[in-house]
Subunit: 243 residues, 2 copies
DNA sequence: TTTTTACAAATGTCTGACAATTAATTTTTC
DNA sequence: GAAAAATTAATTGTCAGACATTTGTAAAAA
């Protein structure tokens, strides 16, 4: 392998990119061992700290893992769905908070995407997934629950709904949409009355899924979206009044 | 700020996590300057290379940017939609290729999510977006086009469809679903006849969107999904026969 | 044969230095 | 006095070399 490095970027970034390309193009395959750090130093004609900075960049993206010891080194990592979920959620959350994305926009995206799961979920939902949804519904109807816990349970309910579609790629794609909205939801205060309504709609969704009734599920989900937006508008009104 | 570091993980990973938490919890805000590397060395009681490895991890996630010079340093970066797209596509592509996700699963996810955009796209599509779609359709009907270019244009068409929903969060969430399937699509050979069919369906979609007809768009998208899956099945049959 | 020890290879970390870049400051020049 | 040029200081980027730590392997001892 021959490498040509440009002077424009930092060396560590270029080295990381060269290795990343190797992984994405399939020249480096899962569990393959990269050359040792000293070998990489020679190949790229740089010092060890520079090579290490490059490797740390890749480690941050879960593209490689390192092992110490005699037969250690850096290995191409199989990107697990679990790892990908985490990255997805981190990125989505920051994207929303740093770009001042409105609650309406985030909420619209979330419910639109969630609705895409409903048809599949109605076909494929397992008893376990239904049980998970009912468990969250039960939690949500506990009286002493804090707003934060209520939101967390809400997210868990919707995660279960998404998972019920039985398509891991969709679960991954939607992880961000569903989870990243939690910080925004946390700004809403849920009165007992509002919670009651949400729990009622959640119950209807679970019932419709149990009956494998996609149309009803979709309709109720639409109501839930409307209700959630209404809550947000109320908060906005309160804010503008007090200001 | 007081930091407690555990001995279990690498120091650079722990330091990166501590700073990442600060960003995600809002203690460090966009464009804020982090302490200089030497200051961080003192705060965390580690050497400069270790601090630098931590910073490179964060740079790999676009969470910080660094600037050399007198008033330089590391700054909290505003995660742009552009950056987030890139990360999303990288992660999705690797996730699919490394976990041997079947074409059926990826395709199902893609079309289901895309269908979620249709209602909004029918309302909001702009003339520019329609023009972009028609331009890709025109490219796809060129006779000399390679399979790779055809696939790339197909992806561009679907990106335009997603963008037509006018919701940047959805565009971001779907970037992975739409783009990551390209390597899988590249395994399919498109005969002239098959291309004709695809171009025909794309045209119907563009027409329906122009007419703001969500129902028709959705129906045609369903046909396109079915047609794409049929192509994949054909390839699978050929493979098993020749093997 | 089993256990222990020693060794070797690799990553993790540290120290100290120098290079390159950039903003601010000072000096020079007109 | 104002503008241009040179200097300085701060900061990141890179390098060299060393030692610590971990871990697999091989040799030695029981």
């Amino acid at each position: 392998m021959k490498y040509e490095l440009d002077q424009a970027q930092e060396l560590s970034a270029q080295i990381a990119q060269a290795i990343r390309d190797g992984i994405m193009e399939g020249r480096l395959i899962v569990d393959q061992r990269l050359p040792s750090e000293s070998d990489l130093c020679e190949q790229f004609q740089v010092s060890r700290p520079t090579v290490r900075e490059a490797l740390k960049r890749l480690a941050a993206q879960n593209l490689i893992r390192t092992q110490r010891g005699a037969s250690g080194g850096a290995f191409v990592n199989r990107l697990s769905f679990e790892d990908a979920y985490g990255q997805q959620i981190t990125t989505s959350t920051l994207l929303l908070s740093m770009n001042a994305v409105s609650f309406e926009t985030a909420c619209e995206a979330r419910f639109a995407l969630e609705r895409a799961c409903v048809a599949l979920a109605a076909q494929r939902r397992t008893p376990d997934q239904l049980a998970a949804m009912r468990a969250e519904i039960h939690r949500q109807s506990q009286p002493g629950l804090s707003d934060e816990s209520f939101c967390a349970s809400d997210v868990a309910f919707h995660r279960a709904l998404v998972d019920a579609a039985g398509n891991p790629v969709m679960s991954y794609q939607l992880a961000g949409a569903v989870e990243a909205i939690e910080p925004l939801m946390n700004m809403i205060t849920f009165t007992a009355r509002k919670r009651e309504k949400i729990v009622e709609l959640h119950t209807l969704i679970a019932d419709a899924l149990e009956a494998r009734d996609a149309a009803t599920t979709e309709a109720v989900l639409g109501q839930l979206a409307e209700h959630t937006l209404e809550l947000a508008r109320e908060v906005a009104r309160m804010r503008s009044k007090s200001a």
